[in-house]
């Protein structure tokens, strides 16, 4: 069983960390994991993304043409990945920024107002956690508990005071994903 997850958005939306968090959690549960970022001067342009693969078997390609899951935090990423995503795949959309709806009916789509949630619970910077929460509600590749643990273990020291808030955002994202859908 292998799940490929792409997380994409602007730099500053916590895209890379969100991916690493999934990878850590996967590793802690004894799974094979890979994490690979987009790198180089494209960054300068502003959008960043990373691919995480969580699998029971050794992982071949760390990159995939068509991911099982795509978490898109901004418009350009939405435009790009709603096309690439695998049929019956999951598309997690940050509806705080992305007003459009996906025009594919072979997808499961969940809309989460990530910025809104994060701002409400303290700081917009935590929006990535809301999206992760939403994804895990639909694709329980990992237990919420493991993610929470991973977050506790790997949140950079200078942010440790935000741990609680991050956890709340994570849970809220999970919760809303339960309700909202199309």
């Amino acid at each position: 069983m292998e799940t490929s997850i792409v997380i994409a958005g602007f730099g500053g939306q916590g895209v890379l960390f969100a991916g690493q968090l999934l990878a850590y959690a996967g590793m802690d549960t004894g799974r094979h994991v890979t994490w690979i970022p987009s790198y180089g001067p494209e960054m300068r342009g502003g959008t960043a993304n990373c691919t995480v693969i969580i699998s029971d078997d050794p992982i071949g390609a760390p990159l995939v043409a068509n991911p099982d899951v795509a978490i898109v935090l901004n418009q350009p990423s939405f435009d790009k990945y709603k096309e690439l995503i695998k049929a019956d795949g999951l598309l997690v959309v940050n509806s705080s920024i992305i007003t459009e709806e996906a025009d594919r009916d072979d997808l499961e789509t969940v809309y989460v107002a990530a910025n809104a949630i994060a701002e409400e619970l303290g700081s917009g910077k935590m929006l990535n956690m809301a999206a992760i929460g939403a994804m895990l509600q639909r694709r329980p590749v990992l237990e919420m508990a493991t993610i929470e643990q991973a977050l506790a273990d790997h949140l950079p020291p200078r942010k440790s005071h935000l741990l609680e808030a991050n956890l709340q955002v994570l849970k809220r994202g999970y919760a809303v994903a339960d309700s909202v859908t199309h």
Partner: protein, 87 residues
């Protein structure tokens, strides 16, 4: 004091605010929404017509987003109409 206005190419603007910093009468503001590149562009917010058309904003803009117009001084206008008469 001369009067003027600027036009910002909002899709090109990256919201760096250098122009805003450079503007003496402080008539440049960040817009509320993002452009397609995901940046929050600036706009001219000048109800009192304080923009002097000094072009300092344009001079510091790294992305060449700003076009600047300045009202002709009354003298200038007369000259123009004069010129037109001649024509």
């Amino acid at each position: 004091m001369a009067q003027g206005r600027i036009v910002v190419d909002v899709e090109r603007c990256k919201g760096c605010e250098l122009c805003r910093e450079a503007c003496p009468p402080d008539v440049i503001e960040l817009a509320d929404n993002l452009n397609i590149k995901g940046y929050r562009p600036v706009i001219l917010l000048d109800p009192k017509h304080n923009c002097t058309g000094c072009a300092l904003c344009a001079v510091v803009c790294p992305d060449g987003c700003i076009t600047v117009y300045r009202d002709l001084p009354v003298k200038g206008r007369r000259e123009l109409s004069h010129a037109q008469r001649v024509a």
